[in-house]
């Protein structure tokens, strides 16, 4: 059976199950109320896309920097990386957002909640990225580094030509997964009143009292972002495979 057919069948069955569940709930659907607020959804979606892209880029850079720190020979540098990773991974994003915005940002005089939101999100995701990158680098056999040195490559050449290409292939699935998580985690920025997609749905719900009609589009909207990301990741994985 071709893969697209199998996927279509399973999605169809899944949707049928959901529809069946909904049909038994006796829910009075009211899409018109929500439809009036469609502009709000669109704007919120745009904000979510903007936050996600900014945080994706920033968290990748932070992750690389932290991974370098984690592998540093200097104990102080390694400690900075390790404490950062453990504290950020071990505490809820919600708490980090609240402290980040209401305590730290206020203290430094940073008032723009969008900037703070992106920064906190990037620092949050960066901690996970750091461990992903570190694990990827560690998984490359030492002989690869030896071979690179043995043929006379400089450290930068070794990294650029030998280590990095292999590390990218190793971490690609995990990084894609982290990107998907980040997009959904961006919904939490609503607690510091960033007008992103989830807050929009919450507000529409409070205006129309049409809960399912507010939140189902929300789910669809996030899928619209995450599905292409997964697809691109799988495409890249196939292209980068070591076998032809």
């Amino acid at each position: 059976m071709p893969r697209w057919l199998a996927h279509t069948i399973v999605v169809f069955l899944f949707a049928a199950l959901i529809a069946l569940a909904f049909s038994r709930v006796n829910y009075a659907w009211n899409w018109t109320g929500v439809w009036e607020y469609r502009q709000k959804f669109v704007q919120g979606f745009g904000v979510t896309v903007g936050i996600s892209v900014a945080a994706l880029v920033a968290s990748t850079l932070i992750g690389v920097l932290a991974a370098v720190l984690l592998e540093a020979k200097n104990p102080l540098l390694e400690a900075v990386g390790r404490v950062y990773v453990e504290v950020i991974r071990g505490t809820p994003l919600l708490v980090q957002l609240l402290i980040g915005f209401y305590v730290v940002a206020s203290a430094v005089g940073l008032e723009n909640r969008y900037v703070v939101g992106v920064l906190v999100l990037a620092l949050f995701s960066g901690a996970y990225m750091a461990e992903i990158f570190r694990g990827g680098l560690a998984a490359i056999p030492q002989t690869q580094r030896d071979s690179a040195r043995a043929i006379g490559l400089t450290p930068w050449q070794s990294f650029r030509l030998v280590i990095l290409p292999q590390a990218v292939r190793l971490v690609l699935p995990a990084v894609a997964g982290q990107f998907v998580s980040l997009i959904k985690d961006s919904s939490l920025l609503s607690v510091i009143a960033v007008s992103e997609f989830t807050l929009a749905a919450q507000e529409v719900n409070s205006f129309t009292y049409s809960t399912l009609e507010s939140y189902l589009p929300l789910a669809a909207g996030y899928l619209l972002l995450t599905l292409p990301l997964s697809a691109v990741s799988r495409l890249l994985e196939r292209r980068f495979r070591y076998e032809a």
Partner: protein, 242 residues
């Protein structure tokens, strides 16, 4: 090559792996290092290949001492070739790209010049049809032979081979040993660490038994394998030879 090693000491943490090792080879083309695991053979080879710096002692090839600073060692490494037991080739590149990489990136050849240089060796060793493949598509023996070629095409002064067949099955081992034998006939200088005693006997101009961090015996292979009067060496061969 004329290899002179004096007072060589190597430590990893608190463990002393090479303990004031001494060796003088005279003028030989091939040196084979044998001995028990953990005895120091690979550690010694890595120092000779310019990959590690010893804690103390001196190494000189043909009267020229090995440098101790990394930039000079890098320059030295560019004049020699090293092949490890496994995972030599870069898996994200084809065999051909693996061969071209050092020529283009390190030795400054243009890609057409590099391709021209690798063509004949690839054909001579029967690997021309496999050059477009990635390492994952090659057998263990083919991978090791490509790795040896990669070390060869930069026209090194000498090769260092660290148990090149230890990860291979008997048939592929034979394939790789045949290639090394051919290289010996062509006059290539090399230092080989191996457990393949029959092969060592055939290709070694000089054999050195490395155990407990020192050279316990050295001489023509037949002498070391068959009539060595150092008890440690005799018991090693008594145990491993059929």
């Amino acid at each position: 090559m004329n290899l002179e090693i004096s007072g060589l000491v190597q430590r990893f943490g608190t463990t002393t792996v090479l303990d004031r090792l001494e060796l003088g080879t005279g003028d030989v083309r091939s040196l084979v290092l044998v001995g028990p695991s953990g005895g120091g053979k690979s550690t010694l080879l890595r120092i000779l290949a310019g990959l590690d710096v010893p804690v103390a002692g001196s190494v000189a090839f043909d009267g020229v001492a090995l440098p101790r600073d990394e930039p000079s060692l890098r320059t030295y490494r560019r004049t020699v070739g090293t092949v490890f037991q496994a995972y030599n080739l870069f898996p994200h590149l084809t065999a051909m790209d693996n061969l071209l990489l050092p020529l283009v990136q390190v030795h400054g050849l243009s890609e057409p010049e590099a391709r021209a240089r690798v063509r004949e060796p690839l054909e001579r060793f029967g690997l021309a049809n496999h050059a477009h493949k990635r390492p994952a598509e090659l057998s263990g023996g083919q991978k090791q032979r490509i790795a040896i070629l990669r070390a060869l095409v930069v026209q090194p002064r000498r090769l260092f081979l660290d148990e090149p067949t230890s990860a291979l099955d008997p048939e592929m081992t034979a394939e790789v040993l045949e290639m090394i034998g051919e290289l010996k006939d062509l006059g290539t200088q090399f230092v080989l660490v191996t457990h393949e005693m029959a092969f060592a006997r055939r290709v070694a101009d000089l054999m050195a038994f490395v155990g407990d961090g020192r050279v316990l015996a050295h001489g023509p292979p037949g002498e070391i394998i068959d009539h060595c009067d150092v008890p440690r060496v005799r018991s090693f061969f008594a145990r491993i030879l059929p």
